[in-house]
């Protein structure tokens, strides 16, 4: 696995709505510095966090009540559309404008398209209506990860690791012992694993009040390059939907700077939604499990980074979804690079 460049023509989770307000927030996304803020009408804006004057980070500047952004190095000022409206030094205004990124804000999430704005297509976003559906409740946040995006992607597409990495919470032998079905739909990769009559892992025992044996389903969908949705169903064995407990986990796997990744998460459930104690417990567990992943991925990152020649990897059948995920991302990247190449090659002119 050598992929360290990032696909830019795709939606990434850029921020949770409640992270972004009238202050300037910097976040690197696919190696691009981005400054998020809200205008007075509450619409969210994301601009490249490099002043067109001498590249000072705009996020170190100021936002006034009218929504004018000022660079705090030499005083360039930009209006709500990112157009330079003046600078302290001189009366005429410099010709400059900020690069603004396509954004979609819905259900408490801010999605950003760091690539070609022409290609930004909202219909590529997954359904996240459960984040605001009144019959669901969820917790969310973001965890910093010092490992490349691809490692996180493979971690999520191969949940077999739960057996080994999360044995005290969500994993047990049943996970690794149950094969997955992998499906591919265009760029999308999905997998499903149905564990029937298994021992309930501790997390599910506690969060659903179930005792073994249980049926547990995992249906994961990867929306490349950076979104993963896991549907979880747990039920006393033999009871079919809708008797089960439903949970959903959304992961925004957003490449940051270099081999760093923002690991956004939202964990939702459709039962006992008013039970604050359960919410607290689930959030704690989610973070504990993610920490186990973060520790593993950061250890793994060092091994990939120090082995640039790439000793051969060995793969097994349960890697199939992750391997397909890799291919999906590699293909998107190749497509993007081809398009850039085409754009750079001057079109041949008819000779006169």
């Amino acid at each position: 696995m050598t992929l360290t460049q990032h696909v830019r023509n795709g939606w990434y989770l850029g921020a949770w709505s409640d992270d972004v307000g009238r202050t300037l927030t910097q976040r690197w996304i696919t190696d691009v510095p981005v400054c998020f803020y809200r205008l007075p009408d509450q619409t969210v804006t994301a601009v490249e966090d490099r002043c067109p004057h001498r590249k000072y980070p705009l996020s170190l500047g100021h936002l006034d009540d009218e929504g004018t952004l000022q660079c705090d190095y030499h005083g360039y000022r930009f209006d709500g559309r990112g157009v330079c409206v003046g600078v302290a030094e001189q009366a005429d205004r410099p010709k400059a404008a900020l690069r603004r990124f396509p954004l979609v804000e819905r259900e408490g999430a801010i999605w950003i398209w760091p690539g070609d704005p022409e290609l930004a297509d909202e219909s590529l976003l997954p359904d996240t209506s459960w984040l605001t559906d009144p019959s669901w409740t969820h917790v969310h946040g973001v965890v910093p990860l010092k490992a490349r995006h691809m490692l996180l992607l493979e971690n999520l597409l191969d949940l077999t690791h739960e057996t080994f990495l999360h044995p005290t919470s969500i994993g047990n032998a049943a996970v690794a012992a149950t094969p997955i079905d992998v499906t591919v739909d265009g760029d999308r990769v999905g997998f499903s694993r149905r564990m029937i009559g298994i021992e309930a892992p501790p997390f599910y025992e506690k969060s659903c009040g179930l005792t073994s044996p249980v049926d547990r389903w995992q249906d994961g969908d990867f929306y490349p390059p950076g979104i993963f949705v896991l549907n979880i169903r747990v039920a006393a064995t033999g009871t079919e939907e809708p008797d089960g407990f439903h949970m959903k986990v959304l992961y925004g796997m957003t490449p940051g700077r270099g081999n760093e990744t923002h690991d956004f998460y939202a964990l939702g459930r459709d039962y006992l939604i008013d039970d604050q104690e359960l919410t607290r417990f689930q959030h704690e567990q989610q973070l504990a499990v993610m920490q186990e992943d973060v520790d593993a991925l950061e250890a793994q990152e060092i091994m990939y980074a120090t082995d640039p020649g790439g000793t051969a990897e060995s793969s097994i059948r349960s890697d199939l979804a992750a391997l397909r995920g890799r291919r999906a991302v590699a293909k998107m990247l190749a497509r993007e690079q081809r398009a850039q190449q085409d754009a750079r090659t001057p079109h041949s002119r008819p000779s006169v």
Binding site: A173, A174, S314
Partner: protein, 345 residues
């Protein structure tokens, strides 16, 4: 049961220490011809055992535990089934066939069409899963994966080795050969999943012990779990035979069992790939370096661009669209329809 390694005898399953039989010793001891079905018997839900004799009346070749034969169906497709009768019996062979509704139709055909007195074309035996001598054996069988273990157990027993078997299946009634296995008493633990849940591999396998060999055959998940459990066991201690993904790797038609010509355009050379050899191996033997790792059609490292010819895809990785595009192939397992390929190598 089928054995994926049978179609690519030069490779053996990832993580398995099972050595392939050297190809030289195979010739001459193989039978290829017609057998008559002497008996057909239901031995579990959707499992039939077939007792076969050579139609000519000749004795059949001897075989060793772990061996399988190819059954060549009238459709041209080939399926592998482990031999599971008594090893010394050269008059009869026995195989057991599970009806796999989700498979590619081979086992269904056998269930629906093979009657007592009927004939089948077979080839073999070959052994990619040989039993090595040891003081103690732990056998783990899942479902129809019990078949290669039966003669192994008989041999271990005859050699007075210490052994035990953990046998899992969906339900008790789906599990074949229970009566004869249970006659071994304590050594055999029968654990249908509906009663006992997943197999207690940790309890059964325990800690590594240098005198012990593990033999496992069954669904991929079970094998993965056994391999995972034994990850830090000595090399060679764990021997597995996979069959779950085998359907993908069967030849699509008779033509696939013919030698193929592969032109390596970039190197300006052409190699002939005989049926038993993978394109990968043939290319390597021609001195052209190629990357490979799993040699099972999983990892994608041997992916090669196809310039001409129609690919018979037998890997597990490519998607339907990628297969249909016919512009790339995993040369460790995939072959050609129509006898010829041009690769960008």
């Amino acid at each position: 049961m089928t054995s994926p390694s049978a179609t690519a005898p030069d490779t053996h399953p990832l993580g398995s220490a099972a050595a392939a039989t050297p190809s030289g010793t195979r010739r001459g001891t193989e039978f290829e011809g017609t057998v008559t079905v002497l008996a057909r018997q239901a031995v579990g839900d959707d499992v039939v055992a077939l007792k076969l004799v050579a139609s000519s009346g000749e004795p059949l070749p001897v075989w060793q535990p772990g061996a399988h034969i190819d059954v060549v169906l009238p459709t041209g497709a080939t399926r592998q089934y482990s031999l599971c009768g008594p090893v010394g019996d050269t008059a009869h062979w026995q195989v057991a066939v599970l009806r796999e509704p989700d498979g590619r139709g081979g086992s269904q055909w056998i269930h629906d069409h093979v009657e007592e007195g009927g004939e089948l074309r077979v080839r073999g035996p070959r052994n990619n899963f040989p039993l090595r001598p040891a003081a103690r054996y732990l056998f783990v069988g899942g479902g129809i994966g019990i078949t290669p273990l039966l003669p192994m157990i008989a041999e271990a027993d005859a050699a007075m080795a210490e052994w035990s078997l953990l046998y899992g299946g969906r339900t008790r009634s789906s599990m074949a050969f229970l009566a004869e296995l249970e006659s071994h008493g304590e050594r055999v633990a029968v654990r249908p999943q509906d009663k006992h849940g997943l197999l207690d591999l940790a309890g059964f396998l325990g800690d590594p012990d240098p005198s012990t060999l593990v033999y496992c055959c069954g669904p991929a998940g079970l094998i993965d779990a056994v391999e995972a459990h034994c990850a830090d066991w000595p090399a060679g201690a764990v021997n597995v035979e996979r069959f779950a993904a085998a359907a993908v790797r069967q030849p699509a038609d008779d033509a696939a069992e013919q030698p193929i010509e592969v032109e390596l355009r970039a190197s300006g050379t052409t190699v002939t790939v005989p049926p038993g050899l993978s394109v990968l191996k043939a290319v390597e033997q021609a001195g052209v370096p190629v990357l490979s790792s799993c040699e099972e059609g999983i990892c994608g490292s041997c992916e090669t661009s196809v310039l001409e010819g129609e690919v018979d895809h037998r890997d597990s990785l490519l998607t339907e669209d990628e297969r249909a595009a016919n512009d790339t192939m995993l040369i460790c397992v995939s072959r050609a329809r129509g006898g010829r390929l041009v690769l960008d190598l």
